[in-house]
């Protein structure tokens, strides 16, 4: 349901946006999007694309790898964003990036439901979407990604074993702490983005991030001793 570019009932700003570096940076685009400009929406989407791609890459369920990829997800998400352009002003709040992110998350969730749902039904088991996308999902994604490079060459533990082990330990972490680590590192979000997303003050987000990092260090030392010691960088000459 596309709105006429020149006629958008939600254009009238009820109150000025909070001044925010990110909004400011793309204020011109944001202004055009509020007026229903799809080109501006496309431009802003392109600006955020690497970040969104990163998020999808991290959160794509291992079971879907090889079937759909981050580009597919972003393609679908773009169509959804275009559909929802009229809601941009209301929903984007103080961060247009987080608006795009929520659109992509919703798309990702639907795709997971569709693909994994069909798969589970065929194996005559009801899919609980929480099992794929609940609070445990960040943990299993983290475990999946961490275990891969944490294996030392001499270690014989398989990827699956390591993932399972890490997952169970990471589940013991506080949910918000775990999320903060994923957001700051795997999605490369800033402290203020994390704060907004998790509804924390910047101070709380910042303190919790440091705490979570310390906790993760303890966990890794427990599960994979020495695996995350400092390695010599610059392995590639060239």
């Amino acid at each position: 349901m596309m709105q006429d570019k020149n006629h958008n009932p939600q254009v009238e700003p009820k109150q000025p946006h909070t001044v925010d570096a990110e909004v400011d940076e793309h204020a011109e685009l944001v202004g055009r999007i509020i007026h229903g400009d799809r080109d501006a929406l496309g431009e802003l989407f392109a600006i955020y694309r690497p970040k969104l791609w990163r998020m999808v890459t991290f959160r794509l369920h291992p079971g879907l790898q090889g079937r759909i990829d981050a580009d597919d997800v972003l393609q679908d998400a773009w169509l959804r964003a275009v559909d929802r352009i009229d809601h941009f002003y209301k929903d984007a709040g103080s961060s247009s990036f987080l608006w795009f992110r929520s659109v992509v998350i919703q798309t990702l969730l639907d795709l997971h439901r569709f693909h994994l749902g069909a798969q589970k039904r065929s194996s005559s088991r009801e899919l609980s979407i929480e099992s794929v996308w609940g609070s445990g999902s960040t943990s299993s994604c983290l475990a999946f990604h961490l275990s891969d490079s944490a294996r030392s060459p001499s270690s014989n533990a398989s990827h699956a074993e390591m993932t399972k082990q890490l997952d169970s330990v990471l589940l013991g972490m506080n949910e918000v702490d775990r999320e903060i680590l994923a957001l700051r590192h795997f999605e490369a979000l800033s402290n203020s983005e994390v704060a907004k997303l998790l509804d924390l003050t910047e101070q709380a987000a910042s303190v919790r991030y440091v705490r979570a990092l310390g906790r993760l260090k303890q966990i890794l030392e427990l599960v994979i001793p020495n695996a995350f010691e400092e390695k010599d960088e610059g392995r590639r000459e060239g």
């Binding site: 990604h145 891969d148 398989s158 890794l220 995350f228 960088e233």
Partner: protein, 423 residues
């Protein structure tokens, strides 16, 4: 510090090291360590390699925590970019929505590997045939790290002017895709040649006719038999000379293996695919088909740390071993086992596999692929020199025959081992 300076300082941005924060910002004050961590992360994400010691020195009050947590942060960031590269690799499109790049018309895809797809192409006006290596992701421009890797790869190889190293002509961008143009080599991969030699051997075995004329594998103009010792040595010599040129300019190949060595019809070997953007051991997973193909030739020290020129010599040694014996050094299909084999398993000596294998060629190969870097040739040039000596039927200079004393020690050693086994 006098009073004036003190006052001036008070108005400045707080220094985190002193933990002084302006009262106005106190309610939203971020953890000072988090601010420093963010700075560190930003530098890593810009492709820099910030030093943890520098940070600890700049923020003495946080030094202890910096040393405690920064290595983990560095590793998380490294892990993330490795993961992203791996995801990109998995998602290389099957087809591309163009058949032209810049002034070049694409003809056909020649291969995929590392971080690129290689095409055969020709220049639209001059009709010169070339090869093009393409970074196969449309939005690569948004992720400067890959563009920079490809660009660095092109610039690095372009700086190496050697008859046995592929020539690079240009680096460009078109329609949001990055690529470089290079010499098109009409040649056969050494992996195919090894395969051919192996098949000929098997057929020979089946016919039980070992006394019939030697089977041959056509290397276009010439031919290579399964025991063309000098032919093998000539291939090795050319690769070693190419490596010597690269090493002289502090460039490592990092991925010497048969499929990266192209043999032309005139016998000339061209070294391709400098592994500047190749997967690190840690980036490869069990599900990755390339894992085995790439790992098998990797030096033990590269699995645990980073290599030096001698790591390339190891890879060349293993390649020569496989070429001359037509037997892979480790016949292992699982990555974890392959890791263990590379670290600890000593493959059988070529002479145990092939009875008429020349002992001096064996010494060269074994020296090149010694597990410990310090037991290998000290330079690619030294390896090339010994191969030349072998070709000229001259005594080797570097891989000299063990002296009588060493022989005696080796004999005692093996005797005592067998004695202990028999106990």
């Amino acid at each position: 510090m006098n009073k004036k300076e003190d006052e001036a300082d008070a108005g400045k941005t707080p220094s985190y090291s002193s933990f002084i924060l302006p009262p106005s910002s106190f309610s939203s004050a971020r953890d000072p360590l988090e601010l420093v961590l963010t700075e560190f992360m930003d530098q890593i994400r810009q492709g820099k390699t910030p030093s943890i010691d520098d940070f600890a020195g700049r923020y003495p009050a946080l030094a202890e925590q910096i040393r405690e947590l920064f290595p983990l942060v560095g590793n998380l960031e490294r892990l993330k970019s490795e993961k992203e590269i791996e995801c990109l690799r998995r998602n290389v499109p099957k087809q591309f929505p163009f058949d032209r790049l810049g002034d070049y018309q694409l003809v056909q895809e020649l291969g995929r590997g590392g971080m690129g797809v290689v095409f055969q192409a020709f220049h639209l006006t001059s009709h010169r045939a070339v090869a093009i290596k393409l970074l196969p992701w449309r939005f690569a421009a948004d992720m400067p790290i890959w563009k920079e890797r490809l660009q660095r790869e092109a610039a690095t190889i372009a700086a190496l002017q050697h008859p046995n190293i592929v020539q690079i002509y240009s680096f460009s961008e078109d329609q949001g895709y990055y690529y470089y143009v290079m010499q098109l080599i009409e040649g056969v991969g050494l992996d195919k040649i090894i395969q051919g030699l192996k098949q000929q051997q098997q057929q020979r075995g089946k016919r039980h006719s070992s006394k019939k004329p030697q089977s041959e594998v056509a290397v276009a103009g010439g031919s290579l038999t399964h025991d063309a010792w000098k032919g093998f040595a000539r291939i090795g010599e050319q690769v070693a000379l190419a490596l010597a040129c690269a090493h002289d300019q502090n460039v490592l190949h990092n991925d010497i293996k048969p499929s990266n060595l192209l043999v032309r019809s005139n016998g000339q070997v061209i070294v391709t695919d400098f592994g500047i953007g190749q997967p690190q051991p840690g980036e490869l997973t069990d599900n990755d088909d390339r894992a085995i193909g790439t790992l098998r030739y990797m030096a033990p020290e590269r699995l645990t740390g980073h290599g030096d020129p001698r790591s390339d010599l190891y890879s060349l040694g293993v390649t020569l071993y496989e070429l001359a014996t037509q037997t892979p050094i480790f016949d292992v299909q699982k990555r974890s086992r392959l890791n263990a084999a590379i670290m600890h398993h000593q493959p059988p000596n070529p002479r145990n596999l092939v009875s008429d294998f020349p002992s001096s060629l064996e010494r060269i190969i074994l020296k090149a692929m010694a597990k410990a870097p310090e037991d290998r040739y000290t330079s690619a040039r030294a390896l090339a020199q010994d191969l030349r000596q072998f070709i000229n039927r001259q005594p080797l200079i570097h891989a000299t025959e063990p002296g009588l004393l060493q022989k005696a020690i080796a004999w005692c050693d093996s005797w005592s081992k067998s004695w202990q086994r028999s106990k």
